[in-house]
Amino acid sequence: MERTKLVHKYLRSEKKFPHLWCPGCGDGILMGAMIRAIDRLGLDQDNVVVVSGIGCSGRLTVYVDFNTLHTTHGRALSFATGIKLANPKLTVIVVMGDGDATAIGGNHFIHTARRNIDLCAIVINNNVYGMTGGQYSPTTPMGAKSATSAFGNIERPFDICELARGSGASWVARGTVYHVPMLDNLIMSAITKKGFCMLEVAAYCHTTFGRRNKLGKPTDMMRWMRDNSVRTEAFQKLSDEERMGKMEIGVLADFDYPEYCEMYDEVIRKSGGGA
């Protein structure tokens, strides 16, 4: 009950509901976690900006009561870069889908990570293009069926966390919509930590992906997450063989790279424009 009340404080409940998500979709779980994290950090709603791309995940910005910007497909990080650099005092959270962040937005993803601008980037990875009806995405597992891979997907999937780490992100983590208390904590860290922080949230799309691949109901897909996720400390101790089919969760990278806006302040100083 407590939790429900808290969530309502941050939802645009009288304005824009019911939402568009399918009953049982994992996107709402992430939305709840994000709200709890912001609340626990005691952030002023007026100073929080939430930017999203296009997809089922992108609709999140309509529902939460912050400064919200629903952008174009794949470009959320670039819009967010403009906002953050223009006013570094704002806390900027970016919510994207897997297709949004790593297909059409892949170029922006790697370059935003490389710049290490202080953003909290959340990628809801449901391994599919949900909104357009379940075509394969860059994170669809090999062999999986989708609206555009009836004979099984022949493309190798991205590991979004490896992609972020390799591109220079300060902080990289993976959580799931099953491990909810952990998800709350990961979002808190991603917001607090300076620099580009990327949190991949393993989610599911039972409607377009689960059904086609006979993965069952949302609860079945969550059970899979419960049974196959391994916290990074334990995962590191596993042999390659034992790692097969398992998903590493937790904080996967944590570095102290210089942050872009702070470095830009130095550019301003050098050019004689400092106050």
């Binding site: 910007l69 174009t72 403009g82 906002i83 223009a86 922006h108 830009y264």
Partner: protein, 410 residues
């Protein structure tokens, strides 16, 4: 010029100080006297000066000839006035970043050429529907594709008008001199702030790279318009309200007015809508706010037109050849006149209608295979003949070519 005093004051009262960091101090130091500062600069540099004078606070871009100098100069000039410059990974990101910065309260701009302009189009459309003021400079080059990187062209007249998908209006200005690169950049910012919409400054390679003498006016003489911010408390603010002007006040993210911005067609509160009445009202407001402003937006210059029988209608650097041709023709006794468009879109419909009523022919020289000429024909409605004069071999149209056509038509 218009509304200079009040708009500026309005901006200050509502605390847009963040919008133009230290611009004053810097400009004051740069000005040599009350009469302004005489400089010898290129069109691209003049565009930078104009942008800074208008209060530019944010620039994002990706290098491309013949627009690159704008990025290069701003990378040092902008931080020096406390503004932000960023080189993005491509033009899609550049366009997105300047819209983001605009939403965060800064005046923002990007500069590109044809290929980059094509990449920006989806997000320019976003800027239109989200009503985010910003300025997009396109220094045209021949195309399609990589085309003719350093040769002059006027091939993007229709791309500027119709590059985005869907139905919409757009403001496109087109300078023909270094000084006008300066003044029209300021105009572009003022229009974008006043009407909350992206404005396109369509330059060509000749005006961008040519160097001319001009006077940078003292700051007090520069008309600067800042977007109107909401004056009501946040609970009362309706972010996309259908106001009488059609331009709702705009709060920046972080100003305390939490609201939603989206590329989806939205209701007055900014939330996506599927209601037919709301969709129509919204689309009409976006169109009408530009249509109702035609008088202010449309800038047309005429010369030798009162008794003219043949008019040369042109824009951009081509108009310089046109002027020379008409002067030569006049010397030879021809009744030739000049019509020069500083505003390409919204198209100066009335000006062309009136012109077509009292000349026998309108010659339209363009460095393309005929783009704006179609619009001229459409509005001349057969009242006079419309004669295209096209050059698309990578070279400027020379005065003699236009003169030849004038004499032929006469």
């Amino acid at each position: 010029m218009e509304k200079k005093a009040t708009e500026r004051k309005g901006g200050k009262i509502k605390g847009t100080s963040r919008q133009q960091p230290q611009r004053k101090a810097k400009r004051a130091a740069a000005s040599k006297s009350d009469a302004g500062q005489i400089v010898l600069i290129s069109g691209n540099e003049a565009c930078v000066e104009g942008a800074l004078a208008a209060g530019l606070g944010f620039f994002a871009g990706y290098p491309i000839t013949p627009a690159t100098e704008i990025s290069e100069v701003l990378s040092t000039r902008l931080p020096a006035v406390g503004g932000k410059f960023i080189q993005m990974e491509d033009e899609i990101a550049s366009m997105a970043a300047i819209i983001g910065a605009s939403i965060a309260g800064l005046k923002s701009m990007t500069a590109t050429s044809g290929p980059g302009f094509s990449l920006m189009q989806e997000n320019i459309g976003f800027g239109i529907i989200a009503e985010a003021p910003c300025v997009v400079v396109n220094v045209m080059r021949g195309g399609p594709s990589t085309g003719l990187p350093t040769n002059p062209s006027q091939g993007d007249v229709m791309q500027a008008r119709w590059g985005r998908h869907g139905d919409h209006r757009i403001i496109v200005l087109c300078p023909n001199s270094v000084e006008e690169c300066y003044t029209l950049t300021i105009k572009a910012f003022n229009f974008s702030e006043k009407y909350r919409t992206p404005v396109i400054l369509l330059m060509d390679e000749v005006v961008a790279h040519m160097r001319e003498k001009m006077t940078l006016p003292p700051e007090s003489n520069i008309p600067v318009i800042n977007r109107v911010k909401p004056s009501v408390p946040p609970e009362w603010h309706i972010p996309y309200e259908n106001t009488p002007t059609g331009v709702p006040p705009m709060a920046a993210f972080g100003d305390g007015y939490r609201y939603h911005i989206t590329g989806l067609v939205h209701d007055q509160h900014g939330f996506p809508t599927q209601r037919q009445d709301e969709i129509k009202e919204f689309q009409s407001r976006l169109t009408n706010k530009i249509e109702k402003a035609r008088k202010e937006l449309i800038m047309v210059e005429t010369e030798f037109i009162d008794d003219a029988k043949v008019a040369v209608l042109s824009y951009g650097s081509t108009s310089r050849s046109a002027r020379r041709a008409v002067t030569m023709a006049r010397k030879g006794g021809s009744k030739a006149g000049i019509v020069r468009l500083l505003t390409l879109w919204p198209f100066p419909v009335r000006a062309v209608q009136r012109l077509s009523e009292h000349v026998d022919a309108i010659i339209v020289p363009e460095m393309n295979q005929g783009q704006l000429v179609g619009e001229v024909e459409r509005h001349a409605c057969g009242r006079c003949s419309v004669v295209p004069l096209n050059r698309y071999d990578g070279a400027m149209i020379e005065p003699e070519e236009i003169l030849h056509t004038i004499l032929e038509v006469e």
